[in-house]
């Protein structure tokens, strides 16, 4: 393989994982906007997406498109349930307490996944049969294209939803100023619920499309969740554009760095980048530091 071909290969795999990081980062971002907390169960949404898809295909024998839709919907439902059953009834409104409720929920969910699906890796079939495709010297599978295409479509849909629909606009209003939004007659509780459901859907979607490439097990989402968070930080926590840019940047950086560092330590890279960004530009690469009003 020539240097150019190798580069193309790295770019392709970087964009693929980067898309997933972007989807996870968008999930973090949605919940942050609605509630100002970090949802630690975001990675588990990803795991669940893959696991549901696997079960619907193999246990229920459903056709792939139907399984796809149902898997994503199921995770959205779990996201909504998390908000309804754990976040809303909480006595304390302290952000730290709410964050730890999501930590606990994450562990609880993982425990359940382990019981239902076991600890072993599951073989997840790709959305269309694997054939080796070549482009600019990079070898890839149709699944790579599915990941890129579906991510793009999801981002477009999300953008349309926030710009053009009434519910989307209401959610943005709640994010900008919950009190004013409530005074305008917007049901803020409902919008928070929608944010969790949407974050669940994004996580589930990421899980359905990436697990045929990586692997599928009950805790596949843990590392992905962390990297999605790193991406969100990289792009300036809370910004949608930042989340997408951060995800792609992290995916590419990681992929290129694997050429230099041993792949066993690949996961270190995201963490080092996260700390470095926090050190130098806590507002993220695209964000800017805000002055707090007292």
């Amino acid at each position: 393989m020539t240097g150019g071909e190798q580069l193309a290969q790295y770019l392709m795999s970087g964009l693929t994982t980067g898309s997933i990081y972007a989807l996870v980062a968008l999930g973090f971002c949605l919940i942050h906007k609605a509630t100002h907390i970090v949802n630690f169960a975001q990675g588990d949404f990803l795991s669940l997406g893959g696991l549901m898809m696997y079960s619907l295909l193999h246990w229920a024998g459903l056709p792939a498109p139907l399984a796809f839709v149902l898997a994503v919907a199921a995770v959205a439902l779990v996201g909504a349930a998390l908000e309804r059953l754990a976040i809303r009834p909480a006595k304390s409104r302290d952000a730290m307490v709410l964050i730890f409720i999501t930590v606990a929920a994450s562990m609880f969910m993982r425990g359940i996944f382990k019981e239902v699906w076991g600890k072993q890796a599951l073989a997840m079939p790709p959305l269309s049969p694997d054939v080796a495709l070549k482009f600019l010297g990079a070898t890839f599978t149709p699944q790579n294209l599915w990941v890129l295409g579906i991510t793009l479509a999801a981002i477009a849909l999300l953008s349309f939803f926030f710009r053009a629909t009434l519910t989307g606009k209401a959610m943005r209003a709640v994010a900008a100023n919950p009190r004013a939004a409530a005074l305008m007659g917007i049901d803020t509780d409902r919008m928070v619920l929608y944010s969790f459901a949407l974050a669940g859907a994004l996580g589930g979607l990421a899980g359905v499309i990436i697990t045929p490439i990586t692997t599928l097990n009950y805790q596949v989402g843990v590392m992905m969740g962390l990297k999605g968070f790193a991406s969100a930080v990289l792009g300036g926590y809370g910004s949608f554009t930042g989340a997408i840019a951060g995800g792609l940047a992290l995916g590419l950086l990681e992929s290129l760095a694997t050429g230099v560092v041993s792949s066993a330590y690949k996961d270190l890279i995201a963490f080092v980048i996260l700390l470095a960004v926090l050190f130098v530009r806590p507002g993220g690469l695209l964000g800017r530091a805000q002055q707090v009003r007292v």
Partner: protein, 321 residues
Amino acid sequence: MSRGQVFYLQMGCLGLAVLLAPLFMSNPYYLNVLNVVALNVIAVTGLNLLIGFAGAVSLGHAAFIGLGAYLSGMLSSIWGWPPLAAALAAAVLAALVALVIGLPTLRLEGNYLVMATLGFNLIVGIIMLQADQYTGGPSGLSGIEPVRLLGMTFSDDQSFYWLAWAVALLGLALARNLAASRVGRGLRALHDSPLAAAAVGVPTANYKVRVFVLSAVYASISGSLYAHYFGIITPRTFDIFRSVELVTMCLVGGMGSLWGGFIGAAFLTPLPQALHVFDQYKDVFYGGLLMVLLIREPEGLVGAWRRLRPRFGPKATGRPA
């Protein structure tokens, strides 16, 4: 009675209980459990300082325990250092690592430290598994020397019991001294209102970092003792689950209350031993317990106690509703 006197009275009672407990232990296995309780008390006390004072939570304390355990174990078994010197060196390294993680993240809201420490825990796990020429990989590091001090060897359950509990009680006393001091007041003030604390001269970011470093040192010491006691350590002992377990112990007892942490550790440590089925379902159990607790009783057992018995205890009037 002043609060200081109350604390030392409580400490005295606990000390007495520690002295007498072995007399009632027919089965050395129970001593083993008590030893693990002591080790957890050490780590939880440190973590509690962080939660109660800096208002920040670490999800990577198991990694600091692991750092203490592996470094101490490697230094003593591979390079032949005396266990105590190895433990000291491990504590220094844990402090440095905590400094590197804490400096950038503790200036920001709590979220960032939680994620950074979670990431740190995953990374430490990866290194423990991958760097197998030093760490022994998945099967772990074995043949670690016991602690020797003043001609005594702390290798069996009984002798280690004294060592572990002496360190645990000392750790509690030191933490309490800190809480009752100028620095401790500054830290508690910072938890209530960072703005007002800064206005009276508390260097808020600096103090948070220092408390984080201190809590990492507590964890590292707990880990080093663990390694020299059991003689064998594996990566699984120091995974994220362990970190969540430690946080749960802090929260079950009561956020930021030193005795609360003690109660949490004493209550939750023996559970896996008591319930055999427990091991398989521990994530569901801990996750569920922590969730219910945080939703219903965010101030933990100590908070519930204060609320239910408003006329009892040194902090009789409790917190505002």
